[in-house]
Amino acid sequence: MRIELERRAAHSVVFSALSPFIALGLTLVAGIILFSALGLNPATALFTYFIEPLTEVWSLHELIIKATPLILIAVGLSVCFSSGNWNIGAEGQLVMGAIAGSILPILFPDQAGFWVLPLMLVMAMAGGAGWAAIPAYLKNRFGANEILTSLMLVYVAQLFLDWLVRGHWRNPAGYNFPESRTYTDGQILPEMFSSGPAHYGALLALIAVIIAWFMMGKTIKGFQVKVIGQAPRAGRFAGFSARKMTLAAFLISGALAGLAGISEVAGAIQQLRPVVSPGYGFAAIIVAFLGRLNPLGVMAAGLILALSYLGGEAAQISLGISDKVGRVFQGVLLFFVLASDTLIHYRIKFISSRKHA
C-alpha cells in the first residue's frame, strides 16, 4: 500500500484561518501526553509553561526581550518565504549583524555622540544583509540551492564570532574570558520603561512589523513578492525579475536578522560572547510560518514562541525538566502548523497496490 497526497479542488477559508489555532491545540494535547509520560501532572506543567510567565512584571519584560529578535527576524523571513526564497540562515545573519554592529563599540570604544547607536544599527543591518547576499548571489549565478548554502553559512558565522571573541576582540581587561569589552551608555539600547529591562529593540520590531505589513499588503512591491513566490512564470509575464527578487528578499531578511543581532548584543547582553543567540534565527522560521507569513500574524506568533522559551526556563527551575523539552515543544508546534497547512490543501489517499502475476 502506498500513501499519496491529492490536491483538493478548493480549500476551506475557515480552516485556513483556524489552522494556527488547531496546531496550537494539538501541541497542547501533545504536551499533555508528553508530561504524563514524564510522570508529571500535565495541568501543573502546562500552567508553569504557558500561564505563570504572564503573571509577573519582570517576566513580561523577559517576554518582550525574547520576542523582539524573534519578531524582527520572522518579519524578514515572512517576506523572503513569500517570494519563494528559503533563507534558513537567519541565525548566521544575526551573528554577522551582531559582529558588524559591534565594530564601533569594540574597536573605537572612545567614540561618543548621538550618532554612535544609530550607526551601530545601520552597520549591523549591512552586516546581516551582506552575509545574506552570499546565498542569493550563489543562487542567481550558479543555481545553488539557497537552503543549503544559507544554512551552512550559519556555522561559518558562528565560528567566526567564536574566533573573534577568543582572539582579537577579547576584552584586554577581562581576565582572559572569551568575551569582548562591555559596551558603555551611548552604545546600549536604552530601557523603555522604568519597571524593567525591556529595551527599545522592541520598538524597532514594532516598526518593522508595520512597514512590512504596509509593503506586503498595499504596494506593488509586496504584490511582486506574492506573484513571484506563487507563480514564477506569471511573475515573468508581469515583467518582474525573479533574480532581483531573490536578492532583495535575502537582503531584507538578512538586514532584519542583523538588526535582531545588534538589538540582542546592544540591548540584552551588552557585549559580544561566543554565543549571542539561543537559536532565535531558527525559531524565527517557526514564527514566520505560525504567523502565516503575515507580518501581523508574525507578531502574535513571536509572542507565543517567546512564551515557550520562558516557560521552558520556568519548567526547568520549578519542575526540574530538561530545557530540551522546550525545543521539543517548538518542534512539535512547527510540525503541527505545517501538517495542518498541508492537509488544508491536500487530502491523504491510500492506494492499495494489487499484485498481478
Binding site: 498595499k218 504596494t219 504584490f223 506573484v227 506563487q230 508581469a238
Partner: protein
Amino acid sequence: MLEVQAITKKFGDLVANDSVSLEVSKGEIHALLGENGAGKSTLVKMLYGSLQPDGGEILWHGKPIEIPSPSQARSTGIGMVFQHFSLFDSLSVAENIALSLGKENDIRDIGEKARQVSEEYGLPLQPDTIIGDMSVGERQRVEIVRCLLQDPELIILDEPTSVLTPQEADALFETLERLRSEGRSILYISHRLDEVQKMCDHATILRHGKVVGECTPADETAASLANLMVGADVGDVTRTGRGEVTGEALLELHNVNQEAASPFAMELTDINLSVRAGEVVGVAGVAGNGQSEFFDVLSGETTSSDNASVRYNGHECGSMGITARRRLGGAFVAEERLGHSAVPDLSLSENLILARHGSDSKSFLGMGPLGVIQNGVIKSVTKRICEEMDVRKSGEDPDASALSGGNLQKFIMGRELDRKPSILVVNQPTWGVDAGAAQKIRQAVIDLARAGSAVVVISQDLDEIMEISDRIAVMSDGHLSKPEDAESITREEIGLKMGGLHDG
C-alpha cells in the same frame, strides 16, 4: 501481439480517448499520428500503466491484461522512451540504469551489460559518464539502452526525433531497423510525415480522441496523411468581414534567431514577420515546434541582444522586456492560463494588476515611488472587464482558480482588450474553452483587428486559424513559413508545412 480494443479515457467532461482500437503485430514499426491534443499521449500512458482506462480492453498475445503500473508494464515486456527523459543529471549512465532495474543487480555488471547492448545496437555509450555532461542525443541513447536491458517485446517511442539533430535521427532509424529485424515491435509517436513514411509499416491516425484512419504510410502521399491528421473532412468555415488590409506595419520581426534555452526548448531560426494594422495573422503548427519560444520573443519574456530585431509601432524593442513593450502598445495572452497569464490563488483584480501595473501605472498606482495600489480604481476596471466580456463568476472578486477555463480566458482576453492595444499576441486563445466562450473570444480578436490593431494568433487548432486569420503562417521546427493569404491557402498545404515538408 498487442491489441487495444475500444479503449476509453475521460478527464472530467473531456473524452481524451473515445473507444480507440489499435493493433500492433510482431516485428513492425507502427506509427501513431495526430495533432497535439489528439489523444496520443493518453493512449500510450495507458499502455505503459501510468493511466488507467475507463473502458475497453488491452490484449497482450491474445489475452486480456491489466497494466496497473509502469513497473508492471516493464515486466510484461513493454518499454517506453519518453520525450522528456527521466534521468538524474548528477549520476552516471550505469547508476541511472541500475536505479530502474532494482536491487538484485550489481552495478558493475550493469555497466558491462549496458556497454555490450549499446555497442550491439550501434548506440555507443560509456557507462561511467555523468548524464549532465552528455548531449541530448546521448541521453536518449541511455534511455533506449535502459529500455533494451529489460528485453522488451514492444517499445514505445514518444516523439523521439524532436530533440535530435538530423544525423542523430538517422542513427536512431538504423537502430530501430535493427530492433525490428529482431522481431521486436515499436510504437512510434510522431507528427513528422517524412519519418513516418520512411520508417513505419502501419499507421493509426488519431484526431480529437478518435481513430480517424489506419493505413500503410508507404501507400499514401504526404498530402493524404496530412489530410487525415488535420481533418480536411471538416468543411471550411465561411469567412466574412475581410477586406484589403492596407494599414502600416505595426509589428515587425527581422531575422530573429534565438538559441534553445534548454535541451527541450526549440531553437528559432531566421524568423521574419510583418503584421499590419487591421489584420489577424494566424500561426499554425503542431505544439513544440517553437510556438512558446516564438511567443516569448514577441512578448519580451525572452529578450534579444539585437534591439532592431523586433519593432513595435516602428520602435526598436528587441532588447526590451515585457513591461516596456506593453508601454509601447503591446498586449499578450499566454497559452497557460493558470500560472502564466494569471496567478491561480490571486483574485481577479490582483490578476488585473499583474498585466497592467506598468502600462496603467498612472491610474493603478499612487504615492509616487511607494507604488501604493489603488484598490478602488482596480476594482472598478475589473468590474468593467467582467461585464464587457460576460465573465460568469461567483462573488464580486473571486480567485482566478475559482473560474472555469472559459470564463477565466474571457477575463484574461478582456484584461488586454480593455486597454485597446495596438498590438495583440495570443497563444492558444481557446484551448480547453467551451464553444460559447471560444466564439466570444474569436469575435473579440477580429473586432480588435478591424478597429486598427495588429493581431497575431498562435494556435494548434487549424479550424480556428482558418476562421479568424487574414494571413496564415506555419511554425515547424523553429522556422516560420511566409504568411499566405487565408483565402487561397488550402488545408493540405498547411498540413504539409506542419509536417515539415516546406517544398511539398
